[in-house]
Symmetry: C2
Subunit: 278 residues, 2 copies
């Protein structure tokens, strides 16, 4: 039985701090790095990020869309990127936001959470528009393979409120409902469960939500989207110790120089350490 | 300027009837066709479906997950399948249920809706958990490239109600909200707009929802999931003329014999024609 994602993530956070760095090779970043907007540029970008940061950062979050836009050849680069990052000892959260039902959800789970898959990742972001219950095949496979999930709950973009703040018959919002499902999934797990939520760092005071899900909270929005490390305790309250803050452009814009990438990541890591300890 | 997806779809529905056949190469189907659960089996399965049905069926709906589970090599088969189907004159709705924000949503749109992409499809299914507004980059690109979208609104699975029937401050459910956004998107388009909704055929009476969005309604659930063609008028009311009923296993289980696939598709097409005309 492999160690659970929650266990491995907690160790990584304790050792390296909780910073997650996105691997987001979009066209404007490739261009600012002096790279071509093609497979060669994609490969160079991804390899550079992994080589520069794999021994210091807890988690990488490759954004599947920026690889998919090159079709099968882009996915081949994604496979290599995931394998390189995992081989170097960094955890990989695949940001693919998959969601479907039944055998289709099972196929997405196999794609990213089955150990012999070419895209096997430590965890996967998933979208619950089809209901939390639709994610069950991914939950099951993650338990077997020692992987994890991050379920979209309260996202960092303002348009998200339209769905996520809508209210169910029991008076709870959709976002709160997802958090409650995850708390149930993680009940009794130590040091924490493997089933996390995506909760934007830009959302201001979240004290009306119960964020104590005994699992990780992936928090995008720091840097380019306007949140700062110093905001984390105010947004997340006591759950801040389970927060995995994601920075993408804030680090990546310092490339392609490896030293500059490392310094930018270290700066965010320090700010986060100070904020969380405060 | 290319003809819009709504225009092309209406023509295809008028000429061939509205049936959409899924291309869902999951392991159990490959096995029942006597094929290996690998790239060779995947390729053979997909080619057989396209060759058997491309000249009679209006729309194919490949399910991306069943290709992704083989990684980049599976995506290469998907590229070939989409290209073959479109070359044969069938419309392709890529069932990938993508959803994200900003530049990431734009990258998904480029992947499936940009004409020079290896996965260019006539339309894409998208998931609005991040709010309808998050889909804007896909709406924009679809308008430019003559492609379409199908936004998840009211899905066929029972777990979907948890999210889709939650209520917003204005008293509308999430599902109704998505339908209203789409009606606005399609306003004034003739013969119909390019921005459709996914609405399950299994949902029973939907008369409390305004399904008149002046765009297509992709309706999964017929066959294996328990709905029948005869149910369509009761479920969809006057919007039934815009319904694109999807059948996957109900047709595919008759393979690999091309004649049997064609007969099964023709049977569903006839039942649908009778039901919609009634």
């Amino acid at each position: 039985m492999p160690l659970s994602f929650g266990t491995r993530l907690r160790s990584a956070m304790d050792e390296r701090g909780p910073l997650c760095v996105g691997i987001d090779p979009h066209a404007s970043l490739l261009s600012s790095w002096g790279l071509s907007d093609d497979i060669a540029g994609l490969e160079r970008f991804s390899r550079t990020v992994v080589e520069a940061l794999a021994d210091t950062v807890a988690v990488f979050k490759p954004q599947a869309a920026f690889f998919e836009r090159f079709g099968s050849r882009g996915i081949a680069v994604l496979e290599q990127t995931v394998a390189d990052a995992r081989a170097a000892g960094t955890l990989v959260v695949m940001d693919a936001k998959r969601g479907d039902i039944g055998s289709t959800m099972a196929a997405y789970a196999e794609t990213f959470l089955r150990e012999d898959s070419p895209l096997f990742s430590d965890a996967l972001t998933v979208s619950p528009y089809l209901g939390y219950g639709s994610l069950a095949p991914a939950v099951e496979l993650a338990r077997e393979s020692g992987a994890g999930l991050f379920v979209l709950a309260l996202t960092s973009n303002p348009e998200g409120a339209e769905v996520q703040r809508a209210v169910r018959e029991d008076g709870r919002t959709i976002g709160a409902t997802m958090l409650a499902h995850l708390a149930e999934e993680n009940a009794g797990a130590t040091p924490m469960g493997s089933f996390g939520a995506v909760v934007g760092a830009t959302l201001g005071d979240l004290s009306s939500f119960d964020l104590d899900i005994n699992g990780p909270l992936l928090a995008p929005g720091i840097g380019a989207q306007g949140a700062e490390a110093a905001d984390l305790p105010r947004v997340f309250g006591t759950a801040v110790r389970n927060v995995v803050p994601n920075v993408s452009r804030g680090v990546l814009r310092h490339g392609p120089d490896a030293g500059a990438l490392r310094r930018a990541a270290a700066r965010f890591a320090d700010e986060i350490r100070v904020a969380v300890a405060a």
